[in-house]
Amino acid sequence: MVERLKRFFGDDIKTNFIFLTIIAILYPIIYVFSPGWGVVLGHGVTWISALLGFNLLFGYTGLLSFGHALFLGVGAYTVGFMYKYLGINNIELHLLGGILSSTVVALIIGPIVVRYTRIFFAIFMLAIAQILWSLYYKFYWVTGGTDGIKIPRFSILGISLEKLDFATYHHVYFYFVTGLTFILVYIMWRIINSPFGLTLKSIRDNETRARFIGVDIYRARLYAFIISAIYASITGVLAVNHHRLVTPDIAYWTTSGKVVFATLLGGARIFIGPIVGSFVFHIIESFAMKFIYWQMVMGILIIAIVILMPGGIAHLARTLVDVVVSHRRRGG
């Protein structure tokens, strides 16, 4: 069954692993030439989890969330509070904390929001995310307000990274996150290719019919929502450890916009789309930042790309591969 999908470039798990491996091999080389671009790749790999989570809802369940910053924020502030109040800077515990808190938040709001679809779901999510953002912003005695919460370098399995030089620290971060991303990608791929994944697609395509073949659509959507929340919170946990600062920015609507755009850019209909999208988005962002009005430049660039490549980069790549393959077949 999955065999049937595998002929498609980008839905095969191998394509995804090869892509990530190539980036992992290129990383130290790029870093030597330009540490700045190394950091950009670091951002790229950090955001994959959030994009995969977002796309489980968008590309596979048909729910467009304009509020995924909500869960990045939950992950980020879990880290902030764990450090500020408990002195924990262990990244495994941060991840565990982020997963638990995002699950709790998803269980509270999920049962309500999954009853809505289309623009109603999108706006509902945006509103809830903005409420949480305003809490981080207003309750400065807890959250540090816009100054945020500064956190030190994380430790892995109790091993402190404080004494490492900058370059080594960056490499440790990058390979830790890449390793984790391999696992997250694999798990997500299994979910999407499981019976549950097919059920989600059936809801996306035809909610009414799904109900009449015996699918509890709210239940299925809630499960997807929780998984999506966990994936987004993991990026929140990683991103603030990367920046070593937790501010309300990560919970702001622009973060939600970034998740949406980066996914569209990569391609929402192909599994590899969000993975490619994450890297390309950050590369474009880092070019755009050279301009004064970089956000505007970014916006225009993204709109242009989305209009010119409606299926995203992954779709374009697949089309090219298809053309080459069919050409060869005809030729040979």
Binding site: M1, P195, I213
Partner: protein, 250 residues
Amino acid sequence: MEVLKLLKVKKSFGGVRALDNISIALSEGEVVMVIGPNGAGKTTLINVISGYLYPDEGRIMYMGEDITRYPPLERVGKGIVRSFQLVNTFDKLTVYENILVSVLSRKKYQYAFRKILDEYTDALEETENILKLFGLSDEADENIMSISYGDRKLVDVAISFALNPKLIMLDEPTSGVATKDKDNIMEKILDVIRKTKVTSIIIEHDMDIVFRYGVRIIVMHQGRIIADGEVEEIRKNEEIKKVLLGGVYA
């Protein structure tokens, strides 16, 4: 044994009486064809039995149990399955996936995510068998939207049969299909019904088809049942023919 029993079921939309005091009983394995002009209330009948709508009055009994207020999901779980008048499939999926998702749901795997689809060999095998049963094997890997409308209708019906229903309701399975293909579709459906011995309600708009394939026929008009009997009885009744021919057919 009585599978389905409707007792004085009523349903109105504003001033329109879509179902006006409907009482029907179906015994196990029975196949009923429902015919009537447009707006007679045929689709509404399926809607109230499947739980898509609730009746204003009356009771619906299924296997001796009052299911009048049961939500659709619960009815599906009990084996009450329907298809829709307009093709209702999963449009971005392949023919194979359209049927597989239904098979998985019946096997209660619809939320299972620990194993990938490949590992559910029982479900995959059943899907292949259903495809074969409906003569759709050759199109298994096609996107559902790229096959002919007639075949999409068959897939739609196959999705319903994949649930192993105890009571199946098909709303005009041949509507929108070229006349020459109608017989083919109806024959395939009746063939599967014969093999599975499932109790069936088939709404059919086409009088010729009904008289050719029907056994027990229910004629509806303006929300009422105006005849319920053997095909020969109905065929001979000139009054009923007049209603059917006089009705607005579109």
